[in-house]
């Protein structure tokens, strides 16, 4: 479980996060949603430790990240997997080598065990074996996302972060990626935090949703409640598309 308590963060005097508190539960797909510029990416980067917060606590199962030394943060990060918006696969390595990389860096396993683990992770994300030897530039965006997920889970992380996992993907591939993240979260009991503004994803896998508006937590709930909340900012966000407006009218 990751607990964020009274977090403030500003850049050059401009307060981007204002007293944000939230609980991200283990074994659930926790989502941070909000409009562009609302502060959701800053919140996620602060939780990971890529941004140093001004005030507050970020507790990884009781371990407060801002109090940790860099060497301890590095150790904690070995329990963290991350799926980046642009996949962030290493260009110079093949698909297989990308997944092997964290294992070679930190796992005490033998080479054969590492290869076996990498193959298992790639199979887990339904990647065809013929793609294992290809370079990231030779596979599609959807496949790159799958490889990135495989790499993120290679070291059996306790915490998984996904930054806009569906950006640049078609609706069908987006759905596959969402289901994959959801499956992996439940299968391995991971604390997953997804940063998204894709309402399809929210409805599909949003088990614990935090809505950020102007740097503040404006609402917390799940995908069953989100249609019935009387919060203007949230409603403007949720019902921005014609499709969801129609869904709302049908429901009414």
């Amino acid at each position: 479980m990751i607990e964020v308590k009274n977090v403030d963060k500003s850049f050059d005097g401009n307060k981007v996060l204002k007293n944000v508190s939230a609980v991200f539960e283990t074994g659930k797909t926790n989502m941070i949603i909000g409009q562009s510029g609302s502060g959701k990416t800053v919140l996620m980067k602060s939780i990971i430790g890529l941004h140093r917060i001004d005030n507050g606590r970020i507790e990884y199962d009781g371990r407060n990240l801002p109090d940790m030394r860099m060497s301890d943060i590095r150790i904690l990060r070995r329990e963290v997997g991350m799926l980046f918006q642009g996949s962030a696969l290493f260009d110079s390595l093949s698909v297989m080598e990308n997944v092997m990389y964290p294992l070679e860096m930190f796992s005490p396993s033998t080479k054969e065990e590492m290869v076996e683990r990498a193959r298992f992770c790639l199979k887990q994300v339904n990647l065809e074996e013929k793609a294992f030897g290809l370079a990231p530039s030779e596979i599609s965006g959807g496949m790159q996302k799958r490889v990135a997920i495989a790499r993120a889970i290679a070291l059996q992380p306790k915490y998984l972060f996904c930054d806009e996992p569906n950006s640049g993907l078609d609706p069908k591939t987006s759905l596959i990626i969402d289901q994959l993240i959801h499956e992996i979260t439940h299968l391995f009991g991971i604390t997953t935090i997804i940063n998204s503004h894709d309402m399809n994803s929210v409805m599909e896998i949003g088990e614990n949703i935090i809505f950020i508006e102007n740097g503040e937590k404006a609402w917390q709930g799940n995908n069953k409640d989100i249609f019935h909340v009387h919060n203007e900012a949230l409603n403007n966000f949720v019902f921005a598309s014609e499709l969801f407006k129609q869904v709302k009218s049908v429901n009414q």
Binding site: R78, M82, E104, M105
Partner: protein
């Protein structure tokens, strides 16, 4: 203010770079790749430039030393000492600052803007050490060979002039390049090149590592790496020359 800030950030980066690698196995996997990329792939430019500059230097020295009081071997001697003292270390490193510096800055800069460096950090890897140390060590290891190779090829270029033109006789040229040889000049040149190699790779890595934005910014980082790397090479050239020959 910006200079102070850059210097401070450079020192902090080097503090992260110059530590023991997380995994020596990964370091030794990267190291030969960097030797090949930064060292062996620089050979063509070193060969071409050294041969041509050696030849041109021989012709120009001969044309500018037509005084009958000067011994006939002067051209060979001046060509050799210029190659040994300045060309094969300083000028060659300035040329390599362009090739190697832009290569490093654009590679690391692209990794930065595509979040590959963030991915390494999230994994708990010391990204600065993992990415930069093999490059510095590889280029520092390769540079003495490149410099000595350049010296030899420069002399070969001059030899070609004596062989295929009437500018200077082969006998005079060969006498000149062997006359009053000071081995210390080679040592001085190699020491200088080691410092230059460190400066070129570390400065380029610094600009690449802190690149922000998009492709345009990677281009800027690459330009800054070459310009500032070259200025620092010239500065250290002056400093080392004062210390070792002054």
């Amino acid at each position: 203010m910006s200079l102070l800030n850059d210097t401070g950030m450079y020192v902090l980066l080097m503090k992260r770079v110059l530590v023991q690698p997380d995994r020596w196995r990964m370091f030794f996997r990267q190291f030969p790749k960097e030797l090949e990329k930064l060292g062996l792939q620089s050979l063509p430019i070193v060969i071409i430039i050294s041969v041509f500059i050696g030849a041109i230097m021989t012709i120009q020295t001969k044309l500018n030393s037509s005084n009958p009081l000067l011994p006939t071997y002067t051209t060979g001697l001046v060509t050799r000492d210029t190659l040994l003292l300045e060309f094969s270390s300083t000028i060659m490193c300035l040329i390599l600052a362009g090739k190697v510096g832009s290569n490093i800055a654009s590679e690391i800069g692209t990794m930065r803007i595509t979040e590959q460096i963030d991915a390494l950090e999230i994994m708990g890897v010391n990204s600065a050490n993992y990415l930069i140390l093999p490059k510095i060590v590889a280029f520092v290891v390769m540079i003495p060979f490149l410099v000595i190779f350049s010296m030899a090829l420069g002399l070969v270029g001059g030899y070609f002039v004596s062989l295929f033109t009437d500018v200077i006789s082969t006998a005079d040229y060969l006498t000149g390049i062997q006359y009053a040889f000071v081995p210390y000049y080679v040592f001085y040149s190699v020491v200088k090149s080691l410092v230059f190699a460190f400066v070129i790779t570390s400065v380029a890595s610094y600009y690449g590592y802190y690149a922000r934005g998009g492709a345009l910014d990677v281009g800027k980082a690459s330009t800054n790496a070459v310009v500032n790397g070259s200025i620092l090479v010239l500065f250290f050239n002056l400093l080392i020359t004062s210390l070792m020959l002054g």
